[in-house]
Symmetry: C2
Subunit: 228 residues, 2 copies
């Protein structure tokens, strides 16, 4: 597919309805809040429709932000963000495969665990959560993004701009362009193409390093890519 | 070990003699050049003493920068940077284990390969090159650092400052503090603690993503950590 112009893709990103699977968690609610503030229609998904509606009320309100069970959120959206815990990731996506068919699916899941020494990555047979999603969702276009965005910053009403780049990975140029443009609807954020899906594992795992940075420096660390 | 003051550790970093194994490659020569410019004594190591001396002449000159075979470079230095190709990494370190005993060893090796789609990480049984080094060098203190520093920028005489953070990983606080201070001897660079050695694999592999960034944006990309 030919690359669209920057203005054209930004307009497309402004029009998409965004579903967020596992949208009642902090990361999901934070992204819902920021994308709704930017003007996008957002459907928060959850296993429980009542909890989804409750989360929608905390980060915007109907009709712009609504809640639904995950499958309905997937069907109602143009672009779907997967923000569920790593446990159950494959199961949920397998179950929603037909609802997600033909859509762009943004995986922001970080397979990681904690022990007394802090965070460490969980090995994924497929190479990464995003590659697992792509393996399960053969009818969708999977993009990896939003792995390092701090939920507390997304949810903080005193934070008007986020000082970070969002690394976007995928094998389809239109999809990565669109997700970069979607990320850039959050003030301060720049969407940066950072490679094919096969290079998503280390981007997911790098979240463990940011956890270490946050502990050492008492921060909500993000990344910027220099020289671009 | 108690954490030293910032000034004290900076002074210690100024005094160390730095050996660079595989120092005739672009990355090794680039680091040799910048550390010598900062005032450190540098010993470039190579399999071939003549090639090491030749490299020394291109990035400083005796007595501040000298060349030697790898084993001599290891013995003569206080801190040793491993900048060899991934192939042969384990063999070289196994052979030099006694020469490296009691020293801080900085591993900056990125296990990666290329095909028609670009760069991709090579899985390492120990988890990362740095963890492999630690497994082989039981008498040394291994630190991971300098993975993302662009050799062309290090070697470019028109580049006076590098716009990037160096992520430093390790399990010994004095060693990571010293390597952060050593990195900061290069103008523009900030040394950032980024976790224990077990979280080094994704930092090494992330070099593949920077290769993708460089291709897409025609850049020499680096990273900055925000909010610290």
């Amino acid at each position: 597919m030919a690359t669209q112009g920057t203005q054209e893709i930004a307009e497309e990103a402004a029009r998409v309805a965004v579903g967020i699977l596992g949208g009642t968690g902090d990361e999901g609610r934070g992204l819902a809040r920021r994308l709704a503030m930017a003007g996008n229609r957002v459907i928060i998904g959850s296993r429980d429709a009542g909890r989804a509606a409750g989360a929608a009320a905390t980060c915007g309100s109907p009709p712009q932000v609504t809640g639904a069970v995950n499958e309905e959120a997937a069907r109602a959206a143009d672009v779907v963000i997967v923000a569920v815990p790593w446990e159950g990731h494959a199961d949920l996506l397998t179950r929603l495969a037909s609802a997600l068919e033909g859509k762009i699916v943004i995986d922001c899941v970080n397979p990681m665990a904690f022990d007394s020494h802090g965070a460490y990555p969980i090995p994924v047979p497929e190479g990464s959560a995003a590659q697992q999603a792509a393996a399960v969702l053969s009818g969708s276009t999977v993009v990896g993004a939003f792995h390092h965005v701090s939920a507390p910053l997304l949810l903080d009403p005193d934070v008007s701009e986020l000082d970070m780049d969002v690394l976007v990975l995928g094998d389809d140029r239109h999809a990565t362009d669109l997700v970069q443009a979607l990320a850039e609807r959050i003030p301060g954020v720049r969407g940066v193409y950072a490679g094919r899906l096969r290079n998503c594992g280390q981007v997911e795992a790098l979240t463990c390093n940011l956890v270490s940075v946050n502990r050492r420096y008492k921060a909500h660390a993000g990344l910027r890519v220099t020289d671009i």
